[in-house]
């Protein structure tokens, strides 16, 4: 029997999301953290293939022992549950404390006229950055998964209304690429994940944590197409209500041949992923065989 593929969308239906937001308006997130850790995560670990995938990630890529890998697998799933709860807590109006490393790079880029690219990944809780790293003059265009649940999209749209944040869903046709190009021509910020291959199937193979993995070609190609500055932005969970944003510039030689620029930029992005994972190994949320089988 063919294994069910991970859909990459937020779990649950519209009714569950609505119920969760209502609950979070008057409930401390820690109560839901505890509930999911005790009653939900153990069940998920038993029935979901993500447990094996993350266990192998800790064993083979992070080099942890069996017991430590098992413990970290449980922690990883608990933390993932917490960041999902935090997202809905934000939709419910809850605030989080945010620390920022590299704010000066972000401010320098936003104060200029030139557009720039923010590269994210499926670690930590990137959605928090949208609400914190927001600029009054330079719009942020966030590339989002087209197949995301309608209730999540409508909550994002509600939160972003009246702000300088716009969403660009990745569509099966070329529509999103025109929107990206137009945003870049207007001197705005375009934010996109660079650790998943969707939309264009072009990919590049890069050594990541000691083994070659596939990375999308598109984000690095788009950045170098116009020689734009690039920031890697990661938002990692520190405590219950505290996150830390890491804004790291990824410079590359803009005079080098184009393919060299793409390779250099992608290599620096992967090095930044490795740096983040060395500090936050349990916040890796790519629940598929990232390094192949």
């Amino acid at each position: 029997m063919k294994k069910k593929e991970w859909e990459g969308t937020t779990y649950g239906n519209a009714w569950m999301h609505k119920w969760l937001i209502r609950l979070l308006r008057f409930t401390d997130v820690r109560i839901l953290y505890a509930f999911t850790s005790v009653f939900v995560i153990p069940v998920c670990l038993l029935i979901n293939p993500s447990a094996g995938i993350i266990y192998r990630f800790f064993r083979e890529r992070m080099g942890f022992g069996r017991l430590k890998s098992a413990l970290k697998t449980y922690q990883n799933h608990c933390l993932f549950g917490q960041v999902v709860i935090d997202r809905f807590a934000m939709y419910a109006g809850k605030k989080f404390r945010i620390e920022i490393e590299g704010l000066e790079y972000y401010q320098k880029l936003t104060s200029g006229k030139e557009s720039f690219i923010q590269l994210s990944s499926h670690m930590g809780n990137y959605e928090i950055a949208g609400y914190t790293l927001m600029h009054d003059k330079k719009a942020l265009n966030a590339l989002v998964f087209f197949g995301e649940k309608a209730s999540v999209m409508s909550n994002r749209a509600r939160l972003f209304s009246g702000t300088n944040i716009k969403m660009i869903p990745i569509r099966p046709d070329m529509g999103h690429l025109f929107e990206i190009d137009q945003a870049l021509q207007r001197g705005e910020i375009v934010s996109m994940p660079a650790d998943r291959i969707f939309g264009s199937q072009k990919k590049m193979q890069i050594s990541f944590l000691g083994q070659v993995a596939d990375f999308p070609y598109g984000p690095f190609s788009i950045a170098t197409m116009r020689g734009l500055p690039v920031l890697a932005v990661h938002v990692m969970k520190l405590k219950c209500r505290t996150y830390k944003i890491y804004a790291t510039p990824l410079p590359y030689d803009k005079e080098a041949p184009r393919q060299e620029q793409i390779k250099e930029l992608a290599g620096k992005y992967v090095t930044e992923l490795e740096r983040m994972l060395s500090h936050y190994p349990t916040q890796w949320y790519n629940y598929f065989e990232f390094w192949g089988n």
């Binding site: 070329m174 025109f178 264009s200 199937q201």
Partner: protein
């Protein structure tokens, strides 16, 4: 027009890094995207958009316009010859 078609083929090979392909290998009337042609995909389309802008000063207005233009090299050449600003 033939000169422009050759120039476009050379530019397409350069910007898309199509190492094993020569201008002679590209059929001017063959589809650029999908099976049966060069097999380009959406990220290549963006490269072509930027190419038209940088080289010929042409800015496409919409995705729909791009779909009608990027059907073949011959079609791009026709559009460029009618709309180029440099």
């Amino acid at each position: 027009m033939d000169e422009l078609i050759l120039e476009l083929k050379e530019e397409i090979i350069r910007v898309l890094n199509l190492e094993d392909i020569t201008p002679e290998d590209i059929d001017s009337t063959a589809p650029l995207f999908g099976a049966g042609g060069l097999g380009l995909d959406s990220i290549d389309a963006l490269e072509l958009i930027v190419l038209l802008e940088k080289r010929y000063g042409i800015r496409l207005a919409s995705a729909a316009e791009g779909k009608t233009i990027f059907t073949s090299v011959e079609n791009i050449a026709k559009y460029v010859s009618e709309n180029r600003k440099r």
